[in-house]
């Protein structure tokens, strides 16, 4: 996939993934890597940090027995607004491309 197309999509995909439930950082990176194998896992981590910094995601420490404390990510209210907004934009774009492609 072209890097320019991918750039805006990754953020949306992370939010869609987290819409289904809170996830631990490495889990997000691993799951995203299934869909985008050519993207380095560190790219997802960098996006996660930015989203958390922008208040779209928030973190909390999860309890894990016999293991290190894991940092979990969840979507904030602002995050849900951002997700709906971006998703609408993206679907409109898909419609345009589909129409043009017919």
């Amino acid at each position: 996939m072209d890097a320019q197309i991918k750039k805006g999509t990754l953020e949306l995909c992370i939010l869609l993934l987290l819409r289904n439930g809170d996830l631990y950082g490495y889990d997000i990176m691993k799951q995203m890597n299934v869909y985008f194998p050519e993207v380095n896992e560190s790219t997802f981590y960098a996006i996660l940090r930015r989203l958390a910094k922008d208040g779209i995601l928030e973190t909390y420490n999860g309890e894990v027995s016999n293991g290190p404390i894991r940092k979990y990510y969840r979507i904030t209210q602002l995050g849900y607004e951002e997700l709906n907004h971006n998703l609408n934009d993206f679907m409109k774009l898909v419609d345009i491309i589909n129409t043009l492609n017919q």
Binding site: G25, Y26, M29, N40, E41, S42, T43, Y45, A46, I47, R49, R50, G67, P68, I69, R70, K71
Partner: protein, 238 residues
Amino acid sequence: MNKELFLKQLRFYLSIYFEENEVNDICSDYQVFLLECENNEIISKFGTPKTICNELVKERGMHIKWNSPIILPILGLIIGVIYRLLNIGYRNNFHFIIQLIIMVLPLLCFKHKKTITKSFIIYECIFILHSILLYSLPSLVSYISNPLLLGPIYVSLSNTLYVFGLILILHNLLTNNSSYDSVILTSNLISLCNYIYLLHRLDSPSHYASLCLLAISPCIIAVIICLIHRGVTIWMRK
């Protein structure tokens, strides 16, 4: 690459661009991630520490690496030149006020950051030493010895110490990293020797061009040593 080395390198690269608390946060995240993979998988999964750092810098939107330790000696150079140029000619109240502003500015920055580090204490000591050497000792020396010889040495010694203090304080302000302190100290000690040597060799130490040369020399050495140190550190960690 083993996990320990990976984290060490990551910390090194991050410390160039990020504040200490952010560096700790990122490194602790990666420390947990690394538990999930083997040593031989690290690079293929996460990329090199430099790649990780670049990704984070890119996401943060900082394109100008203004707080790189390489930039610091250049700032030191500019300040050093301004400071020494201000010292040419007759010292009056204007000079004193300008010098005072240059001296107090880093202290205000420190107050703003609300951090007191080892370097701050060193800077304070240097500042006091600078004042003693620059204003008190030369006049005392002129009574007991040849002021033409010892006077400039004391002034040069105090000036070098002062530039060193400024470089040190700026370095810590910008990078929040003390790993380059020893390099800066070494370079300034070398430049001090160079300074004294030049003063002995020059017929007229007060000449404009020679003073400019003296102003630039400590900071150029600082830049060169920092570059060499950085190169060697990266090379050794590869």
